[in-house]
C-alpha cells in the first residue's frame, strides 16, 4: 500500500473518530452496549475501565477484528465500514497491541515493512523505511537501531517498533492498548514524550489503560467504561483519580490501603547468594540475598523479566538453585530431594503464583477441586491411603469461599467460570487460610477489578498483622509502595537496593528498576 491509495481526508469536523451506538454481543454476553464517543482530532483520549468492561472489544471493532452488531463508525466525519484490519489501516488507524505482534528474529526494518512492502522486491521498501525511521527518530525521540534484531531489543524499544510500524502505514489515529504494563517508569515517561510529540504533529491518540495516574498525566479527555457501557466522558483537567475510580467501579473505593505500622518479628526467611542458571545457560539470578521477618511485607519491585519470577519459583520449590536458604533458622534445601513444592507447603511456605491461569488454578477443575491443588496430600483431605475425602474438601471450600467472599459461592463451578478477581480470591483463600509461615505472592492483583483489589490488599495486610511473613512481587510500583514495609528492587537478576517504603518514592525506585544506583 502506498500513499496514493489514501484519498485526501475530509476535514469537516473536529472529531477524528466518532462512534455512534455501537453494540456487540458474544452469545449472551453484551460486551458493548450502545456506545457513543467522540474523539477530538489532535488530542490524547484515554479510555479507562476494569477488566471485562469492554474496552478491548470496542477497540477491536474500531480496528476491524470484530464487526459491531449495531452502530456507526465515523472517521473524520465520514461513515466508514471497517470489516477487517486492512480497511482500518486504509482509514488511517494504527494499533499498538499489549502483546506485540513482531517477528522476533527479523530486523526492525523488516518488521516495519512486513505486510506493507511496495512490490515484490524488498530493497526499495527497505531503503524507504530506513529514511523514514531516521526522520521519525529525530522528530519524536523514536530512535531504534533499524538493523537490530527485534529479539535483542528491550521491551520499550520493541514497543517503539510497533509505533513505527503504524506510522510507516501513515496512521493518523493511534490506538495503544495498555502500553505501559511492561515498561519501567522512565520508559513510560519516554513513551509519553513520544505521544505528546505525535499529538503536536496533529495525530490523534487513544490510550487504553487501567492506570489512573497515566490518564491524569498525559490525556486531554477521558472516557470511562463499565460493564460494556460508556458511563462518562470528561475533560481530564476537570476530573480526579477518585472520581474516575468511582465511575469505573460504580461505587466509592479506597485508593489508599489502610495500613497500621508493621511490627516485624524474627526473621522467617533468610536467603543468601541465590543463583539460578536457566536451561539456555543464561544466569537469571546472580546472587540474591534477602530476608523477610514475621509480620512484615517485603516488596520486590522491578520490571517484568528481571528475575522476580525465578526468585518466586525457587522459594516455592518449583526450580532448583544454588545458594543457601533458611526458614525459621532451619536449612531449606534448594535442589534435590526435599526441595519440591510439596515439602515447601509442609514447611509452611504458601505460594500465590504470578500466573493464576497457568499455575494457580486448573481452569477446568471445579472450585472445590482447585482448593485441594497442592494440598491433595493433606490428611484432612484424604479418607484413606488412596481415596480422597471429597466431601471434606467440599465443606472446606464452602467455608473458605465464604470467608473470602468469592462470588458466586458455588464450589461446583469450574474455575474458568469465575471472574478474574474471584479466581484470585480462590487462590488466596487456598494459600492464606492456612496461616502460613511465609506467603510468596506474585502479581496479586493482575487482571483483577478495583473492588477486588481493595479486598485483596486488606487480606494481605491482615495476614501480615497475624504474624506471617509476606514476600510480594509485583510489577505495579504503586502496589509495591502501598503494601510493602520494605522494598527491594531487582534488575537483571540482582538486587539493586533496598529501601524502607516510607523513606523512598517512585522516582528513586524507578531509577533502581532501570539498573541505575
Amino acid at each position: 500500500m502506498t500513499a496514493t491509495d489514501i484519498s485526501p481526508r475530509a476535514q469537516t469536523t473536529d472529531y477524528a473518530i466518532e462512534l455512534r451506538g455501537i453494540s456487540k454481543a458474544f452469545g449472551p454476553v453484551q460486551a458493548n452496549k450502545d456506545i457513543s464517543i467522540q474523539v477530538r482530532r489532535g488530542t490524547i483520549h484515554g479510555i479507562v475501565g476494569e477488566n471485562g468492561a469492554g474496552k478491548s472489544t470496542l477497540m477491536s471493532i474500531l480496528y476491524g477484528f470484530y464487526r459491531a452488531d449495531a452502530g456507526e463508525i465515523l472517521i473524520n466525519g465520514q461513515a466508514t465500514e471497517i470489516p477487517d484490519s486492512q480497511s482500518a489501516i486504509r482509514a488511517g488507524i494504527g494499533m499498538v497491541f499489549q502483546h506485540f505482534k513482531l517477528v522476533e528474529n527479523f530486523s526492525v526494518l523488516e518488521n516495519v515493512i512486513l505486510g506493507a512492502e511496495a512490490g515484490g522486491m524488498l530493497r526499495p521498501s527497505l531503503s524507504r523505511a530506513r529514511g523514514l525511521l531516521k526522520d521519525l527518530a529525530r522528530e519524536f525521540e523514536l530512535n531504534v537501531d533499524p538493523d537490530a534484531k527485534v529479539e535483542d531489543l528491550s521491551v520499550g524499544h520493541q514497543q517503539r517498533v510497533e509505533i513505527l510500524k503504524a506510522l510507516y502505514r501513515e496512521a493518523d489515529i493511534l490506538i495503544l492498548d495498555e502500553p505501559t504494563g511492561v515498561l519501567t517508569p522512565s520508559e513510560a515517561d519516554h513513551l509519553f514524550r513520544i505521544l505528546r510529540g505525535l499529538k503536536d504533529q496533529g495525530k490523534t491518540i487513544i490510550l487504553i489503560t487501567h492506570k489512573l495516574r497515566e490518564i491524569m498525566d498525559v490525556t486531554d479527555d477521558v472516557s470511562v467504561m463499565r460493564r460494556g457501557e460508556m458511563v462518562a466522558t470528561r475533560p481530564t483537567a476537570q476530573t480526579s483519580p477518585t472520581e474516575l475510580a468511582e465511575l469505573m467501579v460504580g461505587r466509592k473505593v479506597l485508593l489508599r490501603v489502610e495500613k497500621p505500622p508493621a511490627r516485624p518479628g524474627k526473621i522467617v526467611l533468610q536467603v543468601d547468594n541465590l543463583r539460578v542458571v536457566d536451561s539456555q545457560g543464561v544466569e537469571r539470578l546472580r546472587g540474591i540475598s534477602l530476608n523477610v521477618r514475621a509480620g512484615e511485607i517485603l516488596g520486590i519491585a522491578g520490571v517484568a523479566g528481571n528475575g522476580q519470577s525465578e526468585l518466586l519459583e525457587v522459594l516455592a520449590g518449583l526450580r532448583d538453585a544454588e545458594g543457601q536458604a533458611q526458614l525459621r533458622g532451619e536449612d531449606l534445601p534448594l535442589a534435590g530431594p526435599g526441595a519440591g513444592a510439596i515439602s515447601r507447603r509442609r514447611q509452611g511456605v504458601a505460594h500465590v503464583p504470578e500466573d493464576r491461569h497457568r499455575r494457580g488454578l486448573v481452569l477446568r477443575f471445579m472450585a472445590w477441586e482447585n482448593m485441594a491443588l497442592g494440598y491433595h496430600h493433606d490428611a484432612a483431605y484424604n479418607a484413606g491411603p488412596l481415596r480422597m475425602n471429597n466431601a471434606a474438601i467440599m465443606r472446606d471450600t464452602e467455608a473458605k469461599m465464604q470467608h473470602f467472599d468469592v462470588r458466586p459461592p458455588d464450589p461446583l463451578l469450574q474455575a474458568e467460570g469465575f471472574s478474574g478477581g474471584n479466581q484470585q480470591k480462590l487462590v488466596l483463600a487456598r494459600e492464606m487460610e492456612r496461616n502460613p509461615e511465609i506467603l510468596l505472592v506474585g502479581q496479586p492483583t493482575r487482571g483483577v477489578d478495583i473492588g477486588a483489589i481493595e479486598f485483596i490488599h486488606q487480606q494481605l495486610i491482615r495476614l501480615r498483622d497475624q504474624g506471617s511473613a509476606i514476600l510480594l512481587v509485583s510489577v505495579e510500583l504503586d502496589e509495591i509502595l502501598a503494601l510493602s514495609d520494605r522494598i527491594a528492587v531487582m534488575f537483571d537478576g540482582r538486587i539493586m537496593g533496598e529501601r524502607q517504603s516510607d523513606q523512598t518514592n517512585a522516582q528513586e525506585l524507578g531509577l533502581l528498576m532501570a539498573g541505575m544506583t
Binding site: 458474544f26 452469545g27 471485562g52 507447603r345 499455575r359 494457580g360 486448573v362 481452569l363 477443575f365 491433595h376
Partner: protein, 367 residues
C-alpha cells in the same frame, strides 16, 4: 466472552455423540442408496443381526468387551493428556502374557486361571506401555510416535514368539497350543443358565464382559475418587498447575501409561483366553485402534466408553451380518465404521459448536 459457550455435561456426553452418530448414519444411508441397495433394509438387518437374537447380542457384547478395555486404556492416558496410540501393541503383548500364564502354570480351576490371566495380561500390557511412558517422561520422546512404533515391535515380537517358541513341533500354523481345558472361562450362556435365562451358546461372549463393566467402574473410581486420579486429571488439564501443586509430571506420565497399558493388556483375557483359547498372530484384530474411537466418542469418561463400546460392538456385529446377507460389500461396512469415527472423533466441534450456540440462545431467552 467466547462464542463457544458452555454446554451442560449431560448434553456433552449424550447429545453431541448422538447427533454425530445420526449424521454419520445419514451419510451412510446415502452411500448405501447410491450403490443401489435399500438403506432401510440395511438398518433393519444390522439392528436385527446385532440385537435381534441372543446370538446377535452375544457377538455384539463380545466385541463391546474388547472395546471397553481398549477404550478405557485410551481414556486413562488421555486424562493425563497422553495420546496412547499403542493399545493394539499393548493388547498383543498382553495376549502373550495371558498365553504364557495359561500354558506354563497348571491351573486347577478357571477362577484361579482367570486371576492369573488377568495379572499376566495386565502386567505384560503395562510393561509394554511403560517403555514409551518412560521415554516420554525422562527423554521427551513423543508418546504418539513411540507407541505407534511399539505396535510394530509388538507384532514382530509376537510373530517371533509364536513361530520360534510357542508353536507346537510339527505344525505349520503360527499359533500357540490350545490352553488346557481347566482354564476355559464360563460363557455368558453358562452364566445366564445359572439364573435360568436362555442365551445362545454359540457367541464367544464370556465372563470377561463382567470384568470389563467392573473396570469401567474401577476407572471411574480411580479418576474421580482417588488421589492418583486427581493428580492424573490435574496434570492432564494443566501441566504448569500440576507442577505448582508438586505433582511430578514424570511420575504421573509413567503411572498413567502403566494403567493404560494394563487395561489394554486385559483385553487379551477376553479374546485370547475367552474366545480363541490359544494365542494366534492377529489376536487383537484392530480393537486397539477402535479403542481410540471409543474413547473419543465416550469423551474419555468410563460411562461414555461403556456406551460407545456397545455402539461399536453393534457396528461390528451388524456390519458382519450386512456383509453376509446383502450385496453391500465388506468395504462399505468399513466405510460406515469410519464415518462414525470421523463424525464422533475428528468432526466433534462441527456438532458441538452449533449445539453450544443453541444452549447459549436458550439461556439468553431464559433470562
Amino acid at each position: 466472552m467466547s462464542a463457544k459457550g458452555r454446554i451442560p455435561d449431560w448434553a456433552d456426553v449424550t447429545l453431541v455423540p448422538l447427533v454425530s452418530v445420526a449424521l454419520a448414519f445419514m451419510i451412510s444411508a446415502i452411500l448405501i442408496w447410491a450403490i443401489g441397495e435399500s438403506p432401510w433394509e440395511a438398518v433393519k438387518l444390522m439392528v436385527e443381526g446385532a440385537f435381534g437374537s441372543s446370538y446377535g447380542w452375544g457377538y455384539t457384547l463380545y466385541y463391546a468387551t474388547n472395546f471397553m478395555f481398549t477404550g478405557l486404556a485410551v481414556s486413562v492416558a488421555f486424562q493425563a493428556r497422553l495420546f496412547n496410540i499403542g493399545g493394539e501393541g499393548q493388547a498383543l503383548v498382553g495376549g502373550l502374557g495371558v498365553a504364557l500364564v495359561c500354558l506354563y502354570i497348571p491351573w486347577p480351576h478357571w477362577t484361579l486361571a482367570l486371576v492369573g490371566a488377568m495379572l499376566g495380561g495386565a502386567v505384560f500390557g503395562a510393561l509394554w506401555a511403560l517403555i514409551p511412558g518412560w521415554l516420554q517422561a525422562k527423554r521427551g520422546s513423543h508418546i504418539v510416535i513411540t507407541t505407534i512404533m511399539f505396535n510394530f515391535i509388538a507384532a514382530s515380537l509376537l510373530g517371533y514368539m509364536l513361530v520360534n517358541v510357542l508353536r507346537p513341533q510339527g505344525t505349520q500354523d503360527p499359533s500357540s497350543p490350545r490352553f488346557p481345558p481347566e482354564t476355559a472361562l464360563p460363557s455368558l450362556h453358562e452364566i445366564l443358565a445359572l439364573v435360568g435365562i436362555p442365551f445362545s451358546r454359540v457367541p464367544p461372549v464370556n465372563i470377561s464382559l463382567l470384568i470389563a463393566v467392573a473396570m469401567c467402574f474401577v476407572v471411574w473410581y480411580l479418576l474421580w475418587r482417588t488421589r492418583l486420579g486427581y493428580q492424573i486429571r490435574a496434570f492432564g488439564e494443566s501441566e504448569p498447575a500440576a507442577e505448582y501443586a508438586g505433582i511430578s509430571p514424570a511420575r504421573i506420565t509413567i503411572y498413567a501409561m502403566l494403567i493404560s497399558g494394563a487395561l489394554a493388556g486385559l483385553m487379551a483375557v477376553n479374546s485370547v483366553l475367552g474366545e480363541q483359547q490359544r494365542l494366534v498372530l492377529n489376536a487383537v484384530e484392530g480393537a486397539g485402534f477402535i479403542g481410540i474411537a471409543v474413547a473419543l466418542m465416550g469423551r474419555n469418561h468410563p460411562f461414555g466408553v461403556f456406551l460407545a463400546a456397545i455402539l461399536f460392538g453393534f457396528l461390528y456385529q451388524g456390519g458382519a451380518e450386512l456383509a453376509l446377507w446383502t450385496g453391500i460389500p465388506r468395504e462399505l461396512i468399513v466405510v460406515i465404521q469410519a464415518l462414525v469415527i470421523l463424525f464422533t472423533g475428528a468432526l466433534d466441534n462441527m456438532v458441538r459448536i452449533p449445539i453450544a450456540r443453541l444452549f447459549a440462545q436458550a439461556r439468553a431467552r431464559g433470562r
